[in-house]
């Protein structure tokens, strides 16, 4: 530790650099939300495919009701996590707003396509995959986390692919998208969060 009376200009600069670096290495994203939604959408899309094409169940879409349960859980979980945080960063705020914009856009597009009776058409999955890509890409750029950027690009490629495969199989593209865009990056975010917490305690 430098003594206060010997604290010169060079020490000032070194101190500023080290403190800014410490603040920059502050990661509050632990990947939990990516894993929750990634696994949920993965499961729901697979289940819908099985219910519709193997079991020929008429109300196959009901499986998506699970997303409302997850949304309620997410609200409580985010509130709990926010209370535990010792620090708030501008990055967290911006990423939060990106996901709010995604959620609102998703609901509005779903409502609009639903009112035009287009939810059971090929266009729905193409749009959903494009939408998944947008917040994933932005979060990846803001958090400087390449796996999310890569995942978002995969979503957009899958959106193009959806045009060329039969409608009945398009729902499976959502499962693939979830693995590459949210599940794998989610586990990697969790690992980064754990290692950053370990090093800050060391």
């Amino acid at each position: 530790m430098i003594q206060e009376e010997n604290f010169n200009e060079k020490d000032s600069l070194a101190l500023i650099e080290s403190m800014i670096k410490k603040a920059k290495n502050q990661f509050s994203e632990n990947g939990d939300s990516y894993l929750l939604w990634g696994w949920l959408v993965f499961f729901c899309s697979l289940a819908q495919f099985v219910l519709l094409h193997i079991m020929h169940y008429e109300k196959h879409y009901l499986v998506w009701m699970l997303t409302w349960v997850a949304a309620i859980y997410q609200i409580f979980d985010l509130r709990k996590r926010k209370n535990k945080l010792k620090v708030k960063t501008y990055t967290d705020d911006i990423v939060g707003y990106v996901w709010i914009a995604f959620f609102i856009s998703f609901v509005l597009i779903g409502f609009t396509l639903g009112s035009y009776k287009l939810l059971n058409s090929g266009i729905w999955y193409a749009i959903v995959l494009v939408l998944y890509g947008i917040p994933t890409f932005l979060s990846g750029i803001i958090l400087k986390f390449p796996p999310l950027v890569l995942g978002s690009i995969c979503c957009w490629i899958l959106s193009i692919i959806s045009r060329y495969i039969p409608y009945d199989f398009q729902v499976l593209l959502l499962s693939i998208a979830m693995i590459v865009a949210w599940i794998i990056p989610g586990y990697k975010l969790r690992a980064r969060y754990k290692s950053s917490n370990k090093s800050s305690l060391a």
Binding site: F7, M19, V87
Partner: protein
């Protein structure tokens, strides 16, 4: 031409606190203590000096029935920090 460095900021712990807060929206006292390796007493004194200079806002509240102190840099604090860094450059380029 050397400009005098702001005496409020030209102190190891106060500069550490401001440098940390410049990149964050807000931080709890315990977080700042952990990152600066300062003692609670010394940190408390220096935070009060920064607050009196108008460089930071200090919010005392209760969270889960425990007292909590949250610090946030003010626009005056940001300007003072920027000016300090600018003046610092004149010394380092000599």
């Amino acid at each position: 031409m050397f400009k005098e460095l702001d005496p409020i900021l030209h102190s190891q712990l106060r500069l550490a606190v401001i440098s940390l807060l410049i990149s964050l929206k807000e931080a709890e006292f315990t977080y700042i203590k952990e990152k600066t390796n300062a003692t609670a007493g010394n940190l408390s004194v220096q935070i009060n000096k920064l607050k009196d200079a108008g460089y930071i806002d200090v919010l005392k509240q209760f969270k889960d029935n425990y007292p909590q102190t949250v610090c946030k840099i003010t626009p005056e604090g940001i300007s003072a920090f920027e000016e300090y860094v600018k003046n610092l450059q004149t010394y380092l380029n000599k």
